[in-house]
């Protein structure tokens, strides 16, 4: 593959007291690809993800985004350099409408946030953009309902819409399908893949269910006990001996199923 790296981590480490949650993880994400990080529960995926997105400070190591060192950049700065992230646990503005959730996300990257005395309705660009996004993720019917009244699957779509509204170069998605009904999962994954392809965006995805990512990923990193166990294309990962040996339990079956699908 080309050397066009959008995100690179160098020996990123995160300790909680004596517990090493992430042990010197180095990954490279190639621009325009869908890169997945998988691993069983407790592998340190989400912690690593939180460090990359700035939600948690790294104990050591370096994070470089587009050639810029962002290791020390606070959360709100990362949104402005082009990173947008979703949370594993649905994280919305529950009492605000679907429209307002997405509108706020678009306003955040614009220049109108310090207008104190004009109605937000006068800044039509944010509303138009929000409406386009609402259509895109299929929530038109719920536009004016509070986010908390939506079904779980629709809340995950709203979450995705909020990231899209900021038009980030790179989407960081933490288990976007978590808690979704199994028949909704392929729909959402297809949507993510479409968005990635048509906008030539980079997607970094964390998932513990391997089936979900096998068919859509360009590259997969397998994490185990806070370390990178293997890295490669879906085909390489599913035939990787170490991966299979390390996960004789659940994951082994998942791998079997996945290779059956492929």
């Amino acid at each position: 593959m080309s050397d066009d790296i959008i995100l690179e981590t160098y020996n990123v480490r995160k300790e909680f007291g004596a517990l090493v949650a992430v042990a010197d993880v180095s990954i490279r994400v190639v621009r325009g690809t869908l890169h997945s990080i998988i691993g069983p529960n407790g592998a340190g995926k989400t912690t690593f993800f939180n460090v990359v997105s700035g939600y948690l400070p790294a104990t050591s190591g370096r994070i470089v985004y587009n050639g810029q060192d962002i290791t020390q950049a606070p959360m709100h700065r990362r949104a402005h350099v082009g990173m947008g992230r979703s949370f594993q646990i649905t994280n919305l503005f529950p009492n605000l409408t679907v429209l307002e959730n997405i509108r706020l996300s678009h306003q955040a990257v614009g220049k109108n946030s310090f207008r104190l005395l004009r109605s937000h309705r006068r800044f039509g660009e944010h509303i138009d953009r929000a409406d386009a996004i609402i259509n895109r993720v299929g929530l038109t019917r719920y536009r004016d309902l509070p986010a908390r009244t939506l079904a779980h699957g629709d809340q995950r779509k709203l979450e995705l819409g909020m990231i899209l509204a900021a038009d980030p170069e790179m989407l960081l998605l933490d288990e976007p399908t978590a808690g979704m009904a199994s028949d909704e999962v392929p729909e959402l994954m297809a949507l993510i893949q479409e968005i990635q392809a048509e906008g030539s965006k980079t997607v970094l995805l964390v998932e513990h269910n391997m089936n979900v990512v096998m068919n859509v990923s360009d590259m997969i990193t397998v994490m185990h006990h806070g370390e990178v166990l293997a890295e490669g294309t879906p085909a390489e990962i599913s035939s990787n001996e170490t991966v299979q040996q390390a996960y004789l339990g659940n994951l082994y079956e998942n791998l079997q199923e996945a290779s059956d699908h492929a």
Partner: protein, 363 residues
């Protein structure tokens, strides 16, 4: 800048604005006429009202001025707690700094009204920035306790014997000679109109602020601050803006208090006075703005009439009434009313939704 944009779309927004605010404007008209209405009911002539002669009209003007001041104070607290979700227990200081500074500058230093206004503005900005300094270091309840600490220090200083020549210590600040044209007794009708005007203007500005892009971010901070940060908002900046607006409003409410009241009691710097603001917005509806003004009226009128009718039992009865209000009007007067009306519209919308053929889901 504003005018050039709104001129292109001439009258229509004005008409829409008038229609949107017809309720508030009706209240404004009633309040403008109220001194005269009371006089007519009381058999007093209009000219005697204009001459500020004593009577029921003049008495109720005084009561309403108190309500306006309480309303401004509660409004500024609602912006912090109800809109932005910032719990401060030092809000009485925001108010008392304006009140005491006005009294001390006029009485002890012989300042005029205009330099006093300037000094109150500066003091309000300074105290807001003082709160802002600790803001990034302490979150939630800890911030509330730190602000309580600030306010307690101020309360103690105001009451101290060392400050007595200026503040009057426990007795309160007395003998402030208000400029004749604002004399609360001789020119009460004028003070009434000024206080009414200030309250209405501040209320409309607050409404505009909450509806503005900046105000919407403040609501987002209340709803989920982490998410707002993640979207790219530097939430600290928004909280500082809100602290500044709130502090300025409260300080000027304090200034009006000093102009209107013959004694500035140290009670206005105490925790109890802050609780009044909290109580008012709980009665009116947290985060509704209009609830702060309605709550102030309910609070002050209840206090007054129950005291007049029941005398000694008043405190007990007020306690019972507040418990009942919290039980049966849990979201405050405005909040509960809005919820009921929105539930009603939601039910209608749901019915329409069910009747409408589904356009989505082509499968």
């Amino acid at each position: 800048m504003e005018t050039t944009i709104s001129k292109t779309t001439a009258e229509r927004p004005t008409l829409a604005w008038l229609r949107q605010n017809r309720g508030t404007l009706a209240v404004l008209v009633v309040l403008l006429l109220l001194p005269f209405i009371i006089a007519i009911i009381d058999g007093q002539s209009i000219s005697s009202v204009l001459a500020n002669e004593s009577g029921n009209s003049k008495f109720f003007q005084g009561l309403l001025i108190e309500i306006f001041i309480l309303g401004l104070f509660a409004l500024s607290y609602d912006l912090l707690l109800g809109i932005t979700g910032l719990l401060s227990l030092g809000h009485a200081m925001f108010f008392a700094v304006g009140g005491y500074l006005t009294g001390i500058l006029i009485k002890s230093f012989g300042w005029g009204l205009v330099p006093t206004i300037a000094a109150v503005t500066v003091a309000a900005i300074v105290q807001a920035l003082l709160f802002a300094v600790v803001l990034p270091r302490v979150k939630g309840l800890t911030f509330a306790l730190v602000t309580l600490g600030f306010a307690s220090v101020f309360h103690i200083v105001v009451q101290s014997r060392e400050a007595a020549p200026f503040t009057g210590a426990d007795v309160g600040l007395q003998g402030v000679v208000i400029p004749a044209f604002l004399d609360p007794v001789d020119q009460r009708l004028r003070v009434y109109f000024i206080a009414l005007l200030i309250t209405m203007v501040v209320y409309f500005l607050y409404q505009r602020f909450v509806d503005s892009p900046t105000g919407r971010v403040c609501i987002a901070i209340r709803e989920n601050e982490d998410r707002a940060l993640m979207l790219g908002y530097n939430t600290f900046q928004y909280k500082v803006i809100v602290l500044l607006i709130s502090s300025l409003t409260a300080a000027f409410a304090g200034m009006l208090h000093t102009i209107h009241q013959p004694i500035v009691s140290p009670n206005i710097a105490g925790l109890g006075y802050m609780v009044i603001a909290l109580l008012i917005i709980l009665i009116g509806g947290v985060g509704t703005l209009s609830g702060a003004l309605i709550g102030a009226a309910v609070f002050r009128l209840l206090d007054f009439f129950i005291d007049r009718w029941f005398g000694e039992a008043a405190t007990f009865l007020l306690g019972v009434i507040y418990v009942l209000l919290v039980l049966f009007v849990p979201f405050g007067i405005v909040g509960t009313w809005r919820q009921h009306s929105s539930q009603f519209t939601h039910q209608i919308e749901a019915i329409i939704e069910r009747l409408r053929p589904k356009k989505e889901n082509p499968e």
